[in-house]
């Protein structure tokens, strides 16, 4: 009958058991780390005065699991993070999000340092002051010094809270690249509505987009781009996140904000249930993160004085939870969907350090406060000692 022999794959489960989540993240970072440490050793650069420091935050969105990223079987999807960025970073292996796992509300929670409870699908401002408001109020910075580049309609209120002591006039300016595209394409197009869909959880839903004049004004005056140039460039890009990165480059050159927040979203195509598209999204986001790091190093306004943070807003459901459908959603609230990672690199950050201690996603804002010299008095988290 059949002739069977033991395959290499048979060893996988046992090997996997030997790798705890912490261990495979540590090992992934450690493998990439060796050569990088030889030359530099300790701090990337001396910490500089917070007055001149800049911070860029990228949310690696929307939601990716360990097994498609840092776990051994997923590492092929993130060559840039592993090979180029982790060796230069302090890497936090356990960032826990105890809040609502919807992209807008989770990003709002990251930006306020409080687990927000606003409706994920409504265009509402966060209820607690955002990092942008703390920064601008305490440091007396103009609106042009804090910007958010975000993927979809719901994020247009993320820059400024409804908190009465902050709020109006103190927040970040927000660019929604897809809004810019809508304005640029206002002559109408048969199929671009599909591109402009607001979130992947409700694939049919396309928001009513307004404010074309404001968007065109942003494009021409702030980004120094003509409508034709923008349209022409957009036609060379493959995804909304690529468009966001293009806009970020322009923004860095034209406005050079001290606090810049970029929310990626391509990965969230996973909600459509096509695994290959989810993987494609992860690979693209990996590449775009590395591109942005290169931009930071090459732009005179940023080089040598910028700290970059990269973190997912949360993970996705595990294959083992019968309440979910694996990678497709983030609805169960299980440990895998709540636990993720963060890397910090650049000015004032030690290279090649892996931190296993659990932290919460609400710790980001207090950490930024310590770096940029503002007091996030209403944030729930604590400054991360390895960075603050």
């Amino acid at each position: 009958m059949m002739h069977l022999y033991k395959s290499a794959a048979a060893e996988d489960p046992a090997r996997r058991l030997a790798f705890s989540r912490r261990d495979f993240l540590r090992n992934a970072a450690g493998l990439a780390l060796g050569s990088a440490l030889l030359g530099s050793g300790t701090l990337a650069r001396a910490a500089m005065a917070s007055r001149h420091r800049k911070v860029v935050v990228i949310t690696f969105g929307g939601g990716a699991r360990d097994q498609e990223t840092f776990a051994p079987e997923g590492q092929g999807n993130i060559p840039h993070l592993l090979g180029e960025l982790i060796p230069r970073s302090t890497f936090f292996t356990q960032v826990v999000n105890r809040g609502i796992l919807g992209h807008y509300v989770a990003t709002a929670s990251l930006a306020t340092g409080v687990y927000e409870t606003i409706n994920n699908f409504a265009a509402l401002p966060p209820e607690h002051p955002t990092v942008f408001e703390y920064f601008r109020k305490d440091r007396k910075r103009p609106a042009s010094d804090a910007w958010v580049v975000a993927p979809s309609n719901g994020f247009n209120r993320i820059g400024e809270s409804s908190h009465r002591s902050y709020g109006a006039g103190l927040g970040a300016r927000v660019i929604l690249p897809k809004h810019l595209l809508t304005a640029a394409l206002s002559s109408g197009h048969s199929d671009y509505q599909h591109l402009l869909r607001d979130n992947y959880e409700t694939p049919f839903y396309v928001p009513q987009l307004g404010g074309g004049e404001v968007e065109l004004e942003q494009m021409e005056r702030i980004l120094n781009l003509s409508v034709d140039d923008f349209k022409a460039h957009a036609r060379t890009l493959s995804s909304p996140d690529e468009l966001s990165v293009y806009v970020v480059r322009q923004l860095m050159r034209q406005e050079a904000p001290s606090l810049l927040w970029i929310t990626m979203h391509d990965i969230d195509v996973a909600h459509a249930g096509a695994y290959s598209l989810y993987i494609e999204g992860i690979r693209r986001t990996d590449r775009l993160c590395a591109e942005l790091w290169k931009v930071i190093q090459s732009e005179p306004e940023y080089a040598g004085k910028t700290t970059l943070f990269i973190l997912p807003d949360f993970g996705r459901d595990s294959d083992d939870d019968s309440g979910g459908n694996g990678f497709q959603h983030h609805r169960t609230g299980d440990a895998l969907s709540r636990t993720t990672w963060m890397m910090a690199l650049g000015t004032g950050v030690r290279e090649g350090v892996v931190v296993d201690r659990p932290m919460e996603s609400t710790d980001l804002v207090p950490t930024l406060g310590a770096m940029l010299d503002f007091s996030p008095t209403l944030a729930q988290g604590k400054p991360i000692p390895e960075l603050a």
């Binding site: 002739h3 794959a9 096509a274 294959d319």
Partner: protein, 415 residues
């Protein structure tokens, strides 16, 4: 309204069988906490359109609840204290609900209540407590009312990679550790052989909705005893759904949540089904398209989700799922180009989707009773690779011996 205020007339809006069921078990429903009972009613309200396996499971669950004594001092015939409602529902009773939830019409709209409850649990940080209560309840129920064993060991089959001429990456990486990998399988006539085999199982073990064939494309010829769902056959339904959606989206005030609620309330007749068909299967198919995410767009998602729902609800003894190429996701630059071509297919991407989809099919099959006797076969269509999993198949093994799919089936499926 609270559950203790429930009366028989509250169920007048239910379909006839569901109304009878709810009234029969009214006493049980009255004793349940509000954080729990709409979850049960969400199932009960569709009793008339449920598969036999889920009907039986629901009846047993309600009978168990009815049997739980409201008197903590009561004893069973064996002299052990009877279990009280509070033992079972302590976790649920501790969930705090909002007045808005209490005022909802949760009897007639239990699904909407559950959706609102979910948002409330997230917002009030009670999700973990609710999860624990639900898990504890499920464990108790499982012990008190063990799930039905299948009359014949289950057999799952996944056929993946239709339209792919060559693929160099390793396939079945997640399934290989659980069974045997075969690299020299005779591919000729493979699909027919598999369909004939499951047709024969259906004829030998006639069970209503017990043997399924799901096709992500156009269904192949198959035995009439099989319950068949295919993406192609539902094309007019999908088109009708998309038309309705476009119309609704243009309605002022329509948002993602309202849209989801509206989708969940759709009936087969609104989408062109329900005339002389099978009302149970029609309702199932509509739910695939209105409650599944991406099932309307991608055939690979449709096939995986259909398998998941068929296993969860109908608990079939046999399930063959054939994945077909889905439409290609257009990159942004193409969407922005002036010229729009017909939808193209993405066979390679679909193979990746289906490879994981097959793994999910196996996981979902293993969640059912009789998992230790279940068998599973995944085959790269028209190619020589397959993985076979079953109680007699050594795990994590490989074979280069020439074989065919019939032999593989005979090694893993005993009936």
């Amino acid at each position: 309204m609270l559950p203790r205020e429930l009366k028989a007339e509250h169920f007048n809006g239910y379909p006839p069988e569901a109304r009878k069921l709810a009234i029969h078990y009214l006493a049980a429903l009255q004793g349940l906490p509000l954080s729990f009972v709409p979850n049960l009613l969400r199932e009960a309200i569709y009793y008339d359109f449920k598969f036999p396996a889920e009907r039986r499971a629901l009846e047993k669950e309600l009978a168990n609840l009815q049997s739980l004594s409201a008197d903590p001092s009561a004893e069973t015939s064996s002299g052990h204290p009877a279990e009280h409602f509070s033992d079972w529902f302590q976790g649920f009773a501790q969930i705090t609900l909002s007045p808005q939830l209490e005022q909802m019409d949760w009897v007639n709209s239990p699904a909407q209540f559950v959706e609102q409850l979910s948002a409330h649990l997230w917002a009030t940080h009670q999700l973990d407590a609710f999860r624990k209560a639900a898990t504890d309840y499920a464990d108790r129920l499982h012990a008190a009312v063990p799930p039905e064993q299948p009359p014949v060991p289950r057999l799952g089959i996944a056929v993946i990679g239709q339209g792919v001429s060559a693929y160099d990456e390793p396939l079945f990486r997640k399934l290989r550790p659980h069974g045997g990998y075969f690299g020299r399988v005779k591919p000729e006539g493979g699909l027919k052989l598999l369909l004939d085999a499951i047709g024969a199982r259906a004829q030998s073990h006639p069970i209503p909705y017990g043997h399924w064939y799901v096709d992500g494309g156009e269904e192949a010829e198959h035995a009439p005893e099989l319950t068949c769902v295919s993406y192609r056959a539902l094309e007019p339904v999908r088109a009708a759904l998309l038309r309705k959606m476009r119309g609704e989206i243009e309605t002022p005030g329509m948002g993602p949540e309202a849209l989801r609620t509206l989708l969940a309330q759709m009936n087969p007749s609104e989408l062109g089904l329900g005339q002389g068909g099978d009302p149970v299967l029609d309702r199932f198919q509509v739910k695939l398209l209105t409650e599944g995410s991406g099932t309307q767009i991608f055939s690979t998602t449709f096939a995986q989700w259909t398998a998941r729902e068929a296993l969860r609800r109908a608990q079939p003894c046999t399930l063959l799922v054939r994945f077909a190429p889905r439409q290609r996701q257009k990159p942004m630059n193409e969407l922005l180009s002036e010229k729009q071509d017909q939808a193209e297919l993405d066979p390679l991407g679909s193979l990746m989707d289906a490879d994981l989809g097959a793994y999910y099919n196996w996981i979902n099959q293993q969640r059912l009773a009789g998992a230790d006797q279940s068998a599973f076969l995944v085959w790269f269509e028209n190619h020589r690779e397959a993985v076979a999993i079953g109680p007699t198949m050594p795990r994590g093994t490989e074979s280069t011996t020439p074989t065919d799919l019939g032999e593989l089936l005979s090694w893993i499926a005993l009936a």
